[in-house]
Each structure stands twice: as structure tokens, then as C-alpha cells.
Amino acid sequence: MDNGASSYRRFLDGDRNSFTELVREYWDGLTLYLFGFTNSITEAEEFAEEVFLKLYAERPPFSGKSSFKTWLYAIGRNTVLNMLRKRRKIREASLDGFYDVSDREDIERNHIHDENKKLLYGAMEDLHSDYRQVLYLVYFENFGVAETAEIMHKSERQVYNLLYRAKAALKKTLEKEGFEYEEL
């Protein structure tokens, strides 16, 4: 059992500190994953907050069929898609609500320590949303293909194809910018 699952179990038993542990452990990764849906880090943070709020208020049961991280990211994806479906339009938010919101650089700096990953993540911004998500899940969050397929609600074959096309698109983008990386 991973730490996330045990923390969530303790939270369900009434330990509020365990919820803080979950936030500390999964906030940055979930926010960056959800950033792939919106291209806005503030909206990604808002989505991440909604995901954790859902965990806190509704307390959905965790069956343990997958890792807690996979389960959490799947909840995040469904939540974001539902919210985007409801909004349907760009929401204009007041700047007053964003005084305490982190900027993207802070999150990236905390979460992505490897310099190569930073450069690679920067190059991913121009990619399609699905390419960005699959690359982030596989290469930044180190999910396997099966877990990525579960999170993205796709088959493993679709994830393989998506990952192949995402790498080709990223390589093309990097070549345009003069970036050379032998592993690509």
C-alpha cells in the first residue's frame, strides 16, 4: 500500500492531518497534469482544488484496484472534463482572487527538478492537449502505459499510438527550435 492510500484511509477514519499530507504530496503533480487541459495554471490550480474538495466532501471509497495516484489522477481528469463541459466558455475571473495563487514557475520549480525536464516541459506547451497529457504522465509522473490508459480513459494501444505521435510532434517542435536531444 502506497503512502497516498494509507493517508486517505486515515483521513476517512477522521484524521484531518492526513488530508494535509495528501495535498502536500499530490498537489503539484495533479496541478501540472490538469494544466494540460486548460493552458492556464490558475485554472489548473482551481481544478486541483476541486478535486481535493471532492475527496474531502464526498469521501469516495478507494477500492485499491489501482495505485492511489492513478485513482486520484483519474478523478482529476473526470472532474476537469465535467467542469469544462459545464463552463463551455472562458471564465473571466477577478484578479483579487489570485493574490495567493502560485505562478506556474513556482510549481514547476518545486515539482520538476531536472533541467532537461524543464526544457522539455516548456517545449510541450505548443503540443496538442492529449500529447501533452500523455507525455507528462509517462515521462514526468513516471506512470506506466496501463496506468496512463486508465487515467486517460483510453486503451493501452491508444496510449501507445498517442505516445508515439506525441514524441514525433515534440521532436518536430524541438528541431524547429534547434534543440538536439539524442534520446528523442
Binding site: R16, F19, T20, V23, R24, W27, E49, F52, L53, Y56, A57, D100, V101, S102, D106
Partner: protein
């Protein structure tokens, strides 16, 4: 930059508010559902009662008279010569213009009106007399509608034995046309037919007829009628009302499985509050006529001891006393 603790606290604060509002909403829904379900139950019960009420059978407002009650009684008639008052000797079947009138005396226990009708003399020798009479009792509405139809003369004939008389009691419509059931109109009619089979042959006029009937009727008798040589059975028609039958005969009611028997008439001033409708059983010539009337309390009298019953379609109240009532037991 917000710390994770701040983010966590913010989420938990929002979550607590969300949970609290959900609880309030659930409580509101629960309370509303209780109220709505109660109203629905009351509405369903009301509709049910209203629906069932149409199927509740209304109390019978009088006997239906679906069947004809027949009773046979034997009337012993006095045939002694002492009671013969008039004897005329004529030849039968020819009726003569000089027919004389025989005075007939009818002796009844509860007779109201007796009219003597002309009698056509017939046979020469008289020994016994037998009477054939058809009694029509027609009751309509409030008052006794007494009708005397001297259409056929009473005929006396020789008979050695007491003649059996068949009395038929049947309800007729208030208009007296004999249509039968009265339904729930509250107006009852009774047709009583008494017939005696008469043998043909030389007859003599009879002097007096004693009937032991206990009916309260108005009787009009007619003598023999001679047409074109044929013989027409004599009939007498009597009409009386249910009210008269009620007044003249013992009656009883049953309240809460207690039998109350009719006593004297009571004044309207002593009548108390209305109780409910009761079936009044009038014992009339060994028959039981049932009629629905209203029962009332009597001022200063315990309901278990006696009640008052208003005679239908009248302002008369009659005392019905519980015969098994004992004051000591009630106290």
C-alpha cells in the same frame, strides 16, 4: 506562494461549509417530505372517504314491499237467527225492482266507519250467512285516504261452516293505483285484500256480521248487485293509512339491541335532541310492517329508559319505553 497547509485548510474550510449546507438541505427536504406526505395521506383519505361514501347504501326509508304477504284467517260469522234482522223472500236469480234494503251490522273491534249499503234480496230462506269482502287499504301521504266503493253489494249466502277468508296485504303506490313498491319515497301504501269464496245458489240476506278482525279500517259494504242475471261477488273496499295502522297497533323499535315498545303519545315540548333514524316495527294482523322514523331524546328521561319517535309525516311523537329498564340498574 501559498503553502500546502493553507491550501489544505482552505479546501477543508470549503468542504465543511459544503457538508453543512448539504446537511441543512437534507433536513429541509426531510421536513418538507414529512409535511407533503402527511398532506398526501390526508388527501388520499379524503378522496377515499368521498369515493366510498357514494357506495354506502342509504337506509331504507320504508318497507320495500317487494313481496306480497299473504295470510289466511278464518272469520267466524254469527249465523244465529237472533241476529237476523231482516229476511226477505224473493226469487233468485231474478232481481226485482222492489228490492228491499237489508240493514247490515258490522261489529269490529277497531272499526272506524261502517256504512250500510243496499242489499238486494235474493233467496227466500235464510239460514246462515257468509260474507265475501275485498278490502283495499290504500295509504297515501300524510292522511288516511279512506275510500268506500259500494260498487258491488254484499251478498249473503248459505253456508254451514265458517268460511275461510283470505287476507292479502300488499304495499301499493301512494297514488293508490296498486303499482307496488314504494321505494325510498317515505310514503307507504298497504293493500289488504280479504276474500271469501262464495258458493252460488239461493242466498238470503244476512242480518248481522261479526268480524273479529283487529284491523283499523273503514269499511264500506255493498249489497248484492244484480246485473243481467249474473252474480257479482260482493266486495268492500277499505282504505287506511300507515299512520292509522301505527296509532292503532302495538309497535316496537330496537336501539342498541334494546327493545323499546310503544306507549302513549308525548307532547312535542318534551322532545329533546335528535338521535337517529330507527326501524319501527308495527305488528299488524300478525304481520310486521316496518317503517323508518326519527327517534328523539325526551327531556329529563334517560335514553336507556325511553325515547320518543316521531310518526312519519306528522308532528306526533310517541313514547317508546324500554320494557326491561330498571332504574336501579341504571344508577
Amino acid at each position: 506562494m501559498r503553502s500546502y497547509e493553507e491550501i489544505s485548510n482552505r479546501i477543508m474550510e470549503r468542504g465543511d461549509k459544503l457538508i453543512e449546507s448539504a446537511k441543512v438541505r437534507a433536513a429541509k427536504i426531510r421536513h418538507t417530505s414529512y409535511a407533503v406526505s402527511g398532506m398526501c395521506a390526508a388527501a388520499i383519505a379524503g378522496i377515499g372517504v368521498w369515493h366510498i361514501a357514494s357506495y354506502v347504501k342509504k337506509p331504507d326509508d320504508g318497507f320495500k314491499g317487494s313481496g306480497i304477504v299473504s295470510a289466511t284467517e278464518t272469520i267466524t260469522e254469527n249465523t244465529s237467527s237472533a241476529e237476523i234482522t231482516t229476511a226477505l223472500t224473493t226469487t233468485f236469480p231474478k232481481a226485482t225492482a222492489a228490492a228491499k234494503t237489508t240493514k247490515m251490522t258490522t261489529d269490529r273491534k277497531n272499526s272506524d266507519t261502517t256504512s250500510a249499503v243496499p242489499a238486494v234480496t235474493t233467496a227466500a230462506v235464510q239460514t246462515t250467512s257468509a260474507k265475501t269482502s275485498t278490502v283495499h287499504v290504500t295509504t297515501s301521504g300524510n292522511n288516511a285516504n279512506e275510500t268506500a266503493i259500494p260498487e258491488s253489494p254484499a251478498k249473503t249466502t248459505t253456508a254451514d261452516d265458517p268460511t275461510p277468508v283470505t287476507t292479502t296485504v300488499r304495499p301499493v303506490s301512494p297514488d293508490g293505483n296498486g303499482n307496488g313498491n314504494s321505494g325510498n319515497s317515505g310514503e307507504e301504501s298497504v293493500r289488504i285484500t280479504t276474500s271469501v269464496h262464495i258458493e252460488d245458489g239461493p242466498t238470503t240476506t244476512s242480518a248481522s256480521i261479526n268480524e273479529t278482525s283487529t284491523e283499523t279500517i273503514t269499511t264500506a259494504k255493498s249489497g248484492p248487485q244484480m246485473g243481467d242475471g249474473g252474480y257479482v261477488p260482493p266486495t268492500s273496499t277499505t282504505t287506511t293509512s300507515l299512520q292509522d295502522v301505527f296509532r292503532a297497533n302495538p309497535s316496537y323499535i330496537t336501539l342498541n339491541e334494546v327493545r323499546y315498545e310503544k306507549q302513549a303519545e308525548v307532547s312535542a315540548e318534551s322532545i329533546g335532541s335528535y338521535l337517529h333514524r330507527v326501524d319501527v316495527h308495527i305488528m299488524y294482523i300478525r304481520e310486521n310492517i316496518r317503517s323508518v322514523m326519527k327517534a328523539y331524546l325526551i327531556e329529563g328521561v334517560d335514553e336507556e329508559e325511553a325515547v320518543a319517535v316521531q310518526l312519519k309525516d306528522t308532528d306526533e311523537y310517541y313514547l317508546f319505553r324500554n320494557t326491561s329498564y330498571k332504574k336501579d340498574e341504571a344508577e
